[in-house]
């Protein structure tokens, strides 16, 4: 009784923590993140409150010590967007991210909502690889193995377990259910044989967790693994040389938003097949949101790969050196041949499709949104006011390389991107981009010593509508008396050299290539020994560097970055320090040079026993350009350009999984960010946020979650405070054929919103589900968007209802 009372007192106290925080959003309903483990890919799924809101989703993320975010488009599908951070980028102690959404209204919104003011990203704790992981070997089922129910059994080897481990105290959990009583312990091996295993496992993904205890019965270490149970009938079908799996999902959803009801229907088909070393993957996503006047919402892709070659058709995201092409959706073809000593990769397709603009009216002269039109088509009219469209933008990339990339690789990259001028009638300033890049890597001792370098040079033409210049045009535009003071003969020479490859006219940048304004380069050397990872890098990005294959790169910046990460006590304790010193104004185009200095420190503790994991971080950002913020009578405008601000950020994260009558997981996070702006703008920001969340599994078929949070922001003199609560539960019944879920999430303060979610998922067949979802939203707050006429923040107050029905069929 006392224990029960204590338990509820703890829960109550957790609820009373005064300053709590969760990510409120006008767009995002939830972000689902997998288990972040070092050197394992990490998938994020963003679920939107309404699919109709978002036309583009971009994730910006960075590993510890990186000050620059890597930005990539997310794969947008209906009410969700997906992105997988590659294994190499999942590094302890954490990954920071934020998201940027382009809205159908034309505006943009970040997640978290206040990122735009606070610059506080969300942190994902990355668990380091533990030496203890090797002490437990799950022999069967293997990680991610697809297995028939009849062939399922569990065997675990503790051959390498430490002497202090009490092997007979080992606990085994299958989908969070303790099944240790089924196990036979035989020295180093633990077996749950098929005869002893009488639980009927459902088709699909299952989780197996092993807990080791020491001789004092204290949790010593835990590992987990996932496997997939496949349906016997479909497994029989799949018992041929061709192995395949297919997943078909149909969704129909009605969104009643601010009294306007809209139906959305979509179908998503994923196929994977394997035949004698050839792997085929395919995806088709078709939605009623596909409109000719928007960029594509439909997606289709088919890919065939072997160890030595790969071909992809449709929508995909080819990866080339990061300065040139990375994170960009291409609709077209990519192919690669990897022989090791020589490899070649090529991509051909479009990165935006042509969307015709809208004619408004004829005009007499050029001006804003007024373009020249063909008089023959327009009854002699020469100019028209239009809403401009988007040109079809085609891309060609080629990268030959030498070496496997384990110890050595040298590559050359060519990228050409061009707007097709004839693809639309009502458009302005079609563009062309040419990038030439090179990259080199050396790795020694299993890449414990790694040297990488890459450089790229770009040419951008901001308007190719009139094509290349003729000799006479060059003579009139260039020269001492022309519009641009450049030697006309050198321009002619350049034009003649690149004719057919690139359009040369007065809109080409850079015009001063000798000063390297469009050069981007970076070099890094890392050394990884004695549990210490030390990396030093230098970056240079000219202010006119531009690659249409990499839209999210920071330019006009150069400097160094040093990172040191020390692992102690079998990867349980991490000490990380990063320092970056960057400067802009590389081409002396600004009044003053700004120095950006960032110090990042973090201490992490992952005990992997029954103690909480803790991360404490401190970051200091200092930006200054040396100009005085005080008005100087001799230079009356200097103070307006002054930059002088310091931001101090402290963060703490704590998470704890424990068993006390039931299995619980509790996490706590606190972030405080204070920006002291000494410039004329005096744009001080103070932001504090705290989150406490907990999850409890009460029964095998009943679990609950609780989250309370508060955010307190002060931007200049404006306060924005809110508290957000969330209560949720999941319950399964009818032998797990019916899964029910519900949540209630009210927010109070300056952000008032209540959402109620409920869903019921029913297994019609082991591989066929039907799901009904309903969401009710009540909100009353001031939006971050502004009214175009009144220029005041838009006030939103409405009740929305979203109802959806989804069916899903899986074939394996």
């Amino acid at each position: 009784m006392v224990k029960k009372v204590t338990f509820f007192v703890v829960l109550f106290l957790l609820g009373l923590i005064p300053t709590t925080f969760a990510q409120i959003s006008n767009i995002v309903s939830e972000v689902k993140i997998g288990n972040a483990k070092e050197n394992e890919p990490l998938t994020l799924e963003v679920r939107f409150q309404q699919s109709a809101l978002v036309t583009k989703a971009v994730i910006a993320y960075r590993s510890f010590g990186q000050n620059e975010y890597t930005q990539s488009e997310m794969n947008l599908q209906g009410t969700s967007a997906f992105f997988t951070i590659s294994a190499a980028e999942v590094i302890p102690p954490n990954i920071e991210y934020y998201m940027l959404f382009t809205l159908t209204s034309g505006g943009e919104e970040t997640y978290p909502l206040e990122f735009i003011t606070s610059n506080n990203p969300i942190q994902i704790t990355v668990q380091g690889i533990s030496g203890k992981d090797k002490e437990v070997l799950i022999m069967s089922p293997e990680k991610n193995e697809k297995i028939l129910p009849a062939e399922f059994f569990i065997s675990i080897s503790l051959l390498r377990a430490s002497d202090i481990v009490n092997k007979s105290a080992t606990k085994i959990y299958l989908d969070n259910k303790d099944i240790t009583n089924l196990a036979l312990f035989a020295d180093d091996i633990i077996i749950i044989s098929p005869e002893n295993f009488q639980i009927q496992l459902k088709d699909g993904l299952h989780n197996l967790a092993i807990e080791l205890y020491d001789t004092a019965n204290v949790l010593y270490h835990s590992v987990s693994s996932q496997f997939v149970i496949i349906n016997p009938s479909y497994a029989l079908l799949g018992q041929s040389a061709i192995k395949y799996a297919a997943d078909v999902r149909l969704e129909s959803r009605n969104e009643n938003v601010q009294t306007v009801g809209t139906w959305y229907n979509n179908v998503n088909v994923n196929v994977q097949a394997d035949y004698k070393g050839f792997e085929l993957t395919g995806n088709v996503y078709a939605t009623s949101e596909e409109k000719k006047y928007l960029q594509p919402n439909n997606r289709y892709m088919i890919s065939l790969s072997t160890d030595y070659a790969a071909v992809t058709l449709g929508d995909h995201y080819p990866k080339y050196p990061s300065l040139v092409l990375n994170g960009k959706r291409v609709r077209g073809f990519s192919g690669e041949i990897n022989l090791g000593f020589f490899n070649i990769q090529t991509s051909l397709g479009e990165i935006s499709r042509n969307v015709e603009g809208t004619f408004i009216q004829y005009k007499d002269s050029l001006g804003g949104n007024i373009i020249a039109v063909d008089p023959l088509k327009h009854n002699g009219n020469k100019y028209a006011e239009v809403e401009t469209g988007t040109f079809k933008r085609s891309l060609l990339a080629v990268r030959p390389s030498f070496g496997r990339g384990e110890n050595f690789q040298f590559g050359l990259t060519f990228l050409h991107v061009k707007d097709e001028t004839g693809s639309i009638e009502y458009g302005t300033s079609p563009k062309e981009n040419l990038v030439l890049g090179t990259d080199l890597m050396f790795g020694f001792d299993n890449q414990n010593i790694l040297f990488t370098t890459q450089a790229a040079f770009s040419l951008l033409n901001k308007d190719i509508s009139q094509g290349s210049l003729s000799d006479s045009q060059i003579d009139s535009v260039f020269g001492p008396n022309g519009l641009i003071n450049m030697d006309p003969n050198s321009v002619k020479k350049l034009r003649d050299r690149v004719t057919g490859l690139f359009t040369v006219n007065q809109y080409v940048t850079p015009l001063n290539p000798q000063e390297l304004p469009s050069l981007a380069a970076e070099t890094a050397l890392s050394v990884n020994y004695f549990d210490n990872y030390l990396k030093g890098s230098y970056i240079y990005r000219g202010d006119q560097y531009s690659s249409f294959g990499q839209s999210y790169i920071r330019t006009d910046i150069a400097g160094i970055n040093i990172l040191d990460r020390l692992r102690l006590f079998e990867n349980k304790f991490f000490v990380s320090v990063g320092f970056e010193n960057l400067q802009d104004n590389l081409q002396k185009t600004k009044r003053a040079t700004t120095t950006f200095q960032t110090l990042n420190t973090s201490v992490s503790f992952y005990p992997r026993t029954n103690l909480p994991s803790i991360i404490v971080g401190y970051t200091r950002l200092n930006n200054t350009n040396g100009l005085s913020p005080i008005k100087d009578p001799t230079d009356s405008t200097a103070y307006l350009s002054a930059i002088n601000d310091v931001t101090n950020r402290i963060s703490t994260q704590l998470s704890y999984n424990f068993e006390w009558h039931y299995r619980h997981s509790v996490s706590f996070s606190f972030v405080n960010s204070a920006r002291d702006d000494q410039s004329h703008a005096n744009y001080d920001i103070d932001n504090s946020s705290v989150t406490v969340s907990s999850g409890t599994r009460w029964l095998d078929n009943l679990s609950s979650s609780f989250n309370i949070s508060m955010n307190s922001s002060k931007v200049d003199t404006t306060n924005f405070d809110y508290v957000s609560l969330s209560l949720g539960a999941n319950y399964s019944m009818m032998q797990d054929r019916l899964l029910l879920a519900g949540s209630l999430s009210p927010s109070f303060g300056d952000y008032k919103r209540t959402s109620i979610d409920a869903s019921a998922l029913y297994y019609l067949m082991p591989n066929l589900t039907v799901q009904f979802q309903i969401r009710y939203l009540n909100y009353d707050y001031t939006s971050s968007q502004y009214d175009a006429i009144t220029l005041l923040p838009i006030k939103l107050k409405a009740n929305d209802v979203i109802v959806g029905l989804t069916t899903q069929l899986s074939l394996q």
Partner: protein, 229 residues
């Protein structure tokens, strides 16, 4: 001649066992491997026991024997994650000597073919294969062993192996990945690069996928599982 070979191998195995267990009390029969997959006709025998049909999940200890029939397969995984794919018409006997966290393993292959994937062995550990004509020591590698009437063929896909012929001049040597070595019954040892035939044999020996044939009868479905060609 065959009788002499048999006697020689028997002496070596007895010597191995004696060397391993000399001066010790006989250890309890701790499992050292698990049978992960069984196709068709596979049986096993405990020390001093009778032959029985084997099932998946069967734990194997030192001295246990496995034999497979025609078109049959057994997949055995050791506690250090090393894997043996015991092909058709094959007989093996496994031996192990455990010393704290190290287990030295020796698999005797009397006849037939075995594909192996041996994980990197720790210090003071080794994984040996013994056949009537040779003994091979492995520290971590992949390959295929075929024991026939004319001798033993060892095909090494990657890594390195130290070998010793048990007959004739008892030649010692080593090979690396991409090579094969043939031990004949008259003691000859021939090292060569992997031939196309051996490469095909090697690839075939990795296959563990099965096909199933369903025959619908009044009494229910009869499912016949057989190895993919």
């Amino acid at each position: 001649m065959k009788k002499i070979n048999f006697l020689l191998v028997a002496v070596i195995l007895v010597a191995f066992a004696a060397a391993n267990f000399a001066g010790k009390n006989p250890p309890p029969a701790s499992p050292i491997a698990i049978v992960m997959k069984v196709v068709k006709d596979v049986s096993f025998k405990k020390v001093n026991g009778d032959w029985n049909t084997i099932k998946i999940g069967q734990a194997l200890s030192t001295g246990d024997e496995i034999k497979t029939g025609a078109k049959s397969l057994a997949l055995v995984k050791f506690t250090d994650n090393s894997i043996l794919r015991v092909r058709e018409n094959c007989s093996i006997k496994i031996y192990a000597d455990k010393n704290d966290k190290q287990i030295s393993k020796n698999t005797y292959i009397g006849k037939g073919g075995v594909n192996f994937e041996v994980t990197k062995q720790q210090q003071n550990e080794e994984f040996q294969f013994t056949t009537p004509t040779m003994v091979a020591s492995i520290r971590g590698t992949k390959g295929f062993l075929q024991v026939g009437d004319n001798g033993t063929v060892l095909v090494l896909e990657e890594g390195a192996i130290d070998y010793k012929s048990l007959l004739g001049e008892q030649t010692k040597g080593n090979i690396t990945g991409g090579n094969s070595v043939i031990f004949t019954n008259d003691g000859q040892v021939t090292v060569a690069t992997i031939s196309p035939d051996q490469q095909r044999q090697l690839e075939d020996s990795k296959k563990t996928n099965t096909k199933k044939l369903i025959i619908k009868t009044n009494q229910g479905d009869l499912i016949i599982e057989y190895l993919e060609e």
